[in-house]
Subunit: 486 residues, 2 copies
C-alpha cells in the first residue's frame, strides 16, 4: 500500500508535467520534457516491477483481508502482471517505432501519402504483435484480447464481436431512417463569428452548471481537448473556433463528464489501487453521458438556447426548435471525431474488425486501405478510395501502436445509454426535471453508482451492480429511436 | 555523471510542478501537490546520499580528469557533503517548524502581532542554529558561514562584514546628498489607470527587447514575481497593478535578467554539475544588471518614454526628463522590497548584522525588535518602534528559516555594478550605444563572462576572471555617484 501511495504521488507530477506540455510549454522545452518524463516513467516502472512485490502479493493472498483490501490486492496483482510481462527492450523498441511513426504520420497524412507511411506502420504493427503475444502468455487470453484488456480490463473480443454484431444488424438501417426523416427538415445554421470572450464565458458557465469543481480543477485551452491532471486537481481543456461555438461548447461538456468522474472518486481511496478510474470504456461512458445523453436531450438543448442568445445575441438559428434540430443532425461523414452519436459506432466497428485481424495476423498492413474502403461503403455508404487522409490514415491510434483502444469509444456510448435507462427507472420524470433545469438525478445516480465505486469492482461487476444487467446494446438502440425517430 | 543527469531530469518535473503551483493550481490541489513534491524530494535526496557516491567520488579523485571534469567533481563533492551533513529528522523538524512559522506569519504580520509570532520564530531559530552547527562541522567554517555558504558558495561573513563595513562608512552620507539634491526637483507622477492589456503588451515587448527567448520560456502571472522552470524552458512571472504600471514593468525586467542567465547556460553542460547557475548573489547580479544598471540608465529610460506614450497615451509624466526623475527617486522607506537601489543595501546590512548575531548565539529572538529599531534609525533615520508589520516582521525569510540569504541581494547589486564597470572598459561608448537602442554590448559581455561560465569556476574565481579583480564595492559607490549626483 505504501508503494501504491508513492506511485500515486509520483504520477501526480507526471500528470501535471504532461498537462503543462499540452497547454503551456514552449516548443524549445519539448526535448527536455520528454527526457524528464521518461526518467520518471523508468523510475516508476522499476518501482512497479521490484521482485519483492511478487513475494508481498503472495503473502497478502494468505492474509485475512476485508473486501476492499481484497479488491486492492486484485488490482495490484493485475498491475504487477502487466508491468512485468514485457521485456524492457521491447517496450523501448515499440516506444521508439511508435514515436517515429506518429510524428511522421502528421505530415504524411496531410500529404495523403500512404506509401511513405506504410513502412513505419508495418514496424509498429510488428512490434505490437510481439507485445500482444507476450501479454497473451501472461494473461492467458488471445493476443488481441491481451491488448484490449490494457484499455478495458476484463473485456474480451468475443463480447465486443457479439455486441457489435448485433448492432450491425440494425444500426445502418436505423441511420438510413433517421436521415430520411431529417432530409425533410429545414435547419438554419448559426452564423458567426462568435466572440472568443463570449465563448469562454459560455463554456465556463456550462462547466459550472454541470458541477465541475473549479476549486479542485481548471479549464484551459489546448490543440486537442482532454481531461488530465489528478483527482485532487483535474485539468480539462477545450478549443475555440471563432465561427463554430459548438466545438468549444460540446467538447467542454464532454470533458466535464470525464472530469466529474475523477473529481467524484472517493477521497478516502486516493492513492489506493481501488481509488482509480475503472476503464477507458467506463471513463468514456461519463463523457458521453454528459455530452450525448444529457446535453443533447431536448430539455437541456432548450435550456441552452437562451444562453446562446445571452452570449452571442439573437439569431434565427437560436430559435429553440431550430437549435434542437441543428444540434442533433445525423450525417454520414468520413471523419470519426466529427461524427454524430448515431454514425459514430460505424467508425468504431470498422476499426475493430481491421485491428482485430491485424493483431491476429489475419490481415497485413498493406491490406488496410482496401478493407477500409469496403467497410466504409458497407457501413456508411461512403466511397473513400484513394482518400487515405480522411480514410485509414485519419487517426493517430494505430500509428502510436494503440491497438485495442477503439472499441472503448462505443462501449462508452453503450454504457452511457444503459446508465440513462437505469436513471429513468429510478426517476421516471427525468426529462421534465432536466427541462426544468434540475440535472441532479443524473449527477446523483452517476456519483452513487459509478464515480464513488472507482475500481472497487471489475467492469462487468460494476455494470451489473449499477444497471442490474450486463452490457446490453438495446438501450442504445432505444435511445436513438426515441431521440431521432419519435 | 549519470546520476547527475538523472537528478537534473527529475528536478525538471519538480520545477514545473512548482511553477504550476504558483501560477495555475487551484486551492484544492495544494495538499496533493505538497505530498507529490515531498515524495520526489525524498527520492532525489535518497539518490543524492547513496553511500556508493562516497566511494565513487574518492575513486574519481584518482582519475585523470580534464579541467571541466575536475570542476564537475568539485561541485559533486560539495553537493554530497551538503546532502549528507544533516540527519533526516533535523531536516524534517526544521521543515515543519518553518512551514508553520511562515504560514502563521502571514496573519500575524498583518495583525502586527510580534508576541504571537515569537514562539514560532524561536523554534525556527533553535533548529536553524542546530542546522548551522551540523553544517559547520561538515564544512569546517563558522555556523553562520555554513548557512551563508548554502546560498553563496565560498562567501564568508568576514568578507561580507569587510564590504558592508566599508559601505556603512559612505552610503548613509551618500543617500543624504542624493535626497538633498532630489528635494529641489519637481516630479510629476504617472496617472492611471493603465489598461492591463496595454501593460501586458508593454512587458512582452520589453522582455523581447531584452532578449528573452519565448521559444524556450514563458512570461505568466503570479502573486509574487519569480523566475523558475529549467534552462530549456524558463518560466518567469510578473504581476499587474492597474494604477502603477511600473510594478509589472520593472519586475519583468528584473526577472528577464534572471531568465537570461538560465537561458544562456551552455547547452552542452545541461545536466552536468558545472552547468548550473553559480550562486544566489551571481543570479541576483543578473536581475539587477538588467533592472538597475541597464534599465534605469538615462539612455534606456529615454527609450522607454515613447513606448509608455505608445501603450498608455501621452501625459506630462512621460515627458522624458520627468520620467527619468520619476524612475530614479531615492526615498528612505521601511520596506525592503519597495526600496530604490541606493537605500536597499541599508535594509540588507541591518538584516545581516541581526541574523549573524542570532545564528552565532550572540542575540536572542526576543532581542530582534530593539536591534531593528536601532539599526533603522541609524542607517535610514527611520523610527520603526512598535511597527513590527513594516519592521522586523516584513520578510518571510527568517520565518522560513532562511538565514544567510539576505546578503546575496546586496552582493548581487555590487557584482552588477562591477560588471558594468568592466563592460564600460571594453565599450567606452556604452551609454551612447544604449541610448541608441543597442544593448548588445551588455548581453554579449554577460553571456561571455557569466552565463556561459555557469558553475565552471568558484564564485571568487568567476568574479576575478570576469572583471579582473575581487569583489570591490567602490564600483557600486561610483555608480551611485554618477547616476544620482553628477
Amino acid at each position: 500500500m505504501a508503494r501504491s501511495r508513492s506511485l500515486h504521488r509520483l504520477n501526480h507530477l507526471a500528470q501535471i508535467a504532461s498537462v503543462d506540455r499540452e497547454t503551456l510549454m514552449p516548443p524549445g522545452g519539448a526535448e527536455a520534457r520528454a527526457l524528464a518524463l521518461a526518467e520518471l516513467e523508468q523510475l516508476m516502472h522499476a518501482r512497479s516491477t521490484d521482485l519483492v512485490i511478487a513475494d508481498q502479493l503472495k503473502a497478502a493472498e494468505q492474509e485475512t483481508l476485508d473486501d476492499e483490501a481484497r479488491a486492492d490486492l486484485r488490482e495490484m496483482q493485475r498491475g504487477y502482471l502487466l508491468a512485468t510481462a514485457l521485456p524492457a527492450e521491447l517496450v523501448e523498441a515499440k516506444g521508439l517505432a511508435a514515436s517515429r511513426c506518429e510524428y511522421e504520420w502528421r505530415a504524411q497524412r496531410q500529404a495523403n501519402d500512404w506509401a511513405a507511411y506504410l513502412p513505419n506502420f508495418r514496424e509498429v504493427l510488428r512490434l505490437s504483435r510481439e507485445e500482444a503475444a507476450r501479454l497473451s502468455d501472461a494473461l492467458g487470453v488471445s493476443p488481441y484480447d491481451a491488448l484490449l484488456d490494457g484499455f478495458e480490463p476484463g473485456m474480451r473480443s468475443a463480447e465486443v464481436a457479439r455486441v457489435f454484431g448485433a448492432m450491425r444488424a440494425w444500426l445502418p438501417a436505423l441511420i438510413a431512417r433517421i436521415r430520411e426523416k431529417q432530409a425533410s427538415e429545414t435547419v438554419i445554421e448559426p452564423v458567426g463569428p462568435f466572440a472568443l470572450d463570449a465563448q469562454r464565458a459560455l463554456v465556463r458557465e456550462i462547466a459550472e452548471t454541470l458541477g465541475f469543481d473549479f476549486e479542485r480543477g481548471r479549464l484551459d485551452e489546448s490543440t486537442h481537448p482532454f481531461s488530465g491532471g489528478v483527482p485532487e486537481d483535474v485539468r480539462m481543456t477545450t478549443r475555440f473556433r471563432e465561427h463554430d461555438f459548438s466545438v468549444a461548447l460540446f467538447s467542454t461538456i464532454h470533458e466535464t463528464g470525464h472530469s466529474r468522474y475523477e473529481q467524484g472518486s472517493p477521497r478516502a481511496w486516493l492513492g489506493r489501487p481501488i481509488g482509480s478510474w475503472r476503464s477507458m470504456g467506463i471513463h468514456e461512458s461519463q463523457s458521453l453521458a454528459f455530452e450525448m445523453q444529457l446535453a443533447r436531450s431536448r430539455g437541456f438543448l432548450e435550456r441552452l438556447a437562451p444562453r446562446l442568445v445571452h452570449y452571442f445575441g439573437a439569431q434565427p438559428a437560436f430559435e429553440p426548435e431550430n437549435w434542437l434540430r441543428a444540434a442533433t443532425r445525423v450525417v454520414a461523414g468520413k471523419i470519426r471525431v466529427d461524427a454524430d452519436e448515431a454514425t459514430y459506432p460505424c467508425h468504431v466497428m470498422l476499426r475493430f474488425d481491421i485491428e482485430h485481424a491485424l493483431v491476429a495476423g489475419e490481415m497485413q498492413a498493406e491490406d488496410v486501405p482496401a478493407a477500409w474502403d469496403e467497410g466504409m461503403c458497407d457501413l456508411l455508404g461512403l466511397d473513400t478510395r484513394g482518400d487515405y487522409r480522411d480514410g485509414c490514415m485519419q487517426d493517430p491510434h494505430w500509428a502510436g501502436g494503440a491497438f485495442g483502444y477503439f472499441p472503448c469509444y462505443t462501449l462508452g456510448a453503450l454504457y452511457a445509454a444503459q446508465w440513462f435507462a437505469a436513471i429513468r427507472r429510478t426517476t421516471p420524470d427525468l426529462d421534465a426535471r432536466i427541462a426544468a433545469g434540475d440535472d441532479a438525478p443524473v449527477f446523483d445516480w452517476l456519483s452513487a453508482n459509478i464515480w464513488s465505486q472507482a475500481s472497487r469492482w471489475t467492469t462487468p461487476e460494476l455494470v451489473q451492480r449499477a444497471s442490474g444487467e450486463a452490457l446490453n446494446p438495446e438501450h442504445f438502440r432505444r435511445h436513438l429511436e426515441t431521440r431521432y425517430l419519435s
